[in-house]
Chain length 319, copies 2
């Protein structure tokens, strides 16, 4: 490592705030998540996925698209406790944001799909969401010459490119572009020590010292692991539904904290509206601690620094 | 008027196609509709109206906004026969596009409101649309400091700016910006005689010669008047519901033809999917003519030239 005068050239001009040991516990959010080898990220797939994400004709009613619940105006989620889908039915769980979802180690609250390709078709087919038969969805897309063209461009080696696999891969590709780098906290981690004010830094310290970081770690601030929690009003057995293993009863995947300030309400059932209330509950349920008011205020201030730059996308002109 | 060599300077370089008498029957679409004296078009009202247009919290379910049925991805309409609203209920009529709606002499299929200010609150309160109590909608908006700020900026003279009148005026202001000038036909009317090909010009001629222009006149290609029509499958009494006058039985306001190619399906009940079918029905029902195949193809080609430039808008970041 460089020392002495050589080092002086590389440090930022601002005085060090002495919190390097804390900063080292975190990772800034990259501009892109890992791209799987079997789904290269091409502009053609992203453009097609963007169209499909806003496409209501792949729901049985013809009026619900991915963007209905993952609404770009609402932090790419829906800001209601539990998702409302086909015919006004209300689902069991809170809609997770799709922002930065490519950074997650598994998908859905219960992690029942390993990746975005596995996740993409679930809401289309779910009775309480888009309630659509997949074959009918593909037939509807095939009725439009524009989709015939766009699928052929995205999958030039496929003789019959409008199929379920390609639909899922295109949606996953688009979602991998919905990332929010350059939050104040990212700028802080990248060296701008003025990007956070003192209370926000106090919150970062409290976040580490109290152990929040044990589960909320890594670039998306989730370990992508499953932890047992029962929040007010929830009898949801969580991961147990997937594995049937008693050890997974009431376990949910740690949610990302990226953009948490704009993705309320919180918890698997949307039970809490405010970050303050959520921080208090997490302290009690997960860490066995009754946080002081000041600690809650500081951690909340810190969480607000995790809101990044919202991604570019087009409202497509659908056929 | 200028003559001789002075005139030669002002005519376009291309040869005249000899259809001036036909062109003179039409009006190009202006960039903005008339602005009412009691609702000046300010950037603050437009920005607020843009937010409110995408705001689902002013529906009782919290998931339906104006943009749900007036979807910018779908020609600012919904591309289904009849509107689907609260709890999946299906309404009686086809969703009209909001594009260029400021040019219409009255609002709704039955003209029951004279202007956009009168129209704006209807869908919020309608049981089969957003199903929302207006007082509750205003209370929900008032819960957000961002809306308190934006209403105050849009209505600086009001002590209590979050009210129904201002909500309607802001939505109307935003809608008056959703115009689609510079269609191929507008460019043709403005002097570019190559903006239409021969079939499209033949369609324009057929449109005039067959009398379509009797009702589809003016910049939005509607006389904003009410005409009796019963399309397949419709028992809707139309304007009679508004006036109670037997003479208004089955009458509907002439719909705009601007962007008609991207605002299918057609008719008050969305009975027809294609322009060809719609042109044939209109010929028979309104003009008592059985159009030849060629005439239908020509008029359809002409109607495709009425698709203009889609308006700029933001997907707002809602609070």
């Amino acid at each position: 490592m460089a020392v002495g005068s050589a080092l002086a050239i590389t440090v930022p001009a601002t005085a060090d705030d002495g919190l390097g040991d804390y900063r080292d516990r975190f990772e800034p959010l990259p501009h892109f998540p890992p791209i799987p080898a079997d789904n290269s990220l091409t502009p053609e797939k992203v453009e097609l996925g963007n169209m499909l994400f806003f496409e209501p004709r792949i729901s049985s009613s013809g009026v619900i698209s991915c963007a209905t619940c993952h609404n770009p105006a609402l932090g790419w989620a829906d800001r209601i406790p539990r998702a409302t889908g086909h015919d006004g039915q209300i689902g069991e769980r809170n809609t997770p944001t799709v922002l930065n979802s490519g950074f997650l180690g598994s998908q859905f609250w219960d992690g029942r799909e390993p990746d975005l390709e596995g996740q993409a078709l679930g809401p289309i087919e779910a009775d309480v969401e888009m309630a659509m038969d997949l074959e009918t969805a593909l037939e509807r897309l095939n009725d439009f010459t524009l989709y015939q063209t766009k699928f052929a461009e995205a999958y030039p080696d496929d003789a019959d490119p409008i199929n379920a696999n390609n639909l899922a891969h295109a949606l996953a590709s688009f979602q991998r572009t919905l990332n929010t780098p350059n939050s104040p906290f990212d700028r802080y981690l990248h060296g701008d020590q003025n990007a956070l004010d003192q209370q926000e830094k106090d919150g970062m310290v409290a976040f580490v010292d109290n152990g929040c970081i044990a589960c909320h770690s890594g670039p998306a601030m989730t370990d992508s692991n499953f932890h047992r929690i029962q929040v007010p009003g929830s009898s949801d057995v969580g991961r147990f539904e997937v594995t049937g293993d008693e050890a997974d009863m009431y376990k949910f995947r740690t949610p990302t904290l990226r953009n948490v300030a704009v993705t309320y309400p919180y918890m698997n059932n949307g039970a809490t509206e405010t970050l303050e209330e959520s921080v208090a509950i997490m302290g009690k349920e997960m860490l066995g601690r009754d946080f002081e008011e000041q600690t809650i205020a500081d951690i909340t201030a810190f969480l607000h620094t995790l809101t990044g730059e919202m991604p570019d996308f087009d409202v497509p002109a659908l056929p």
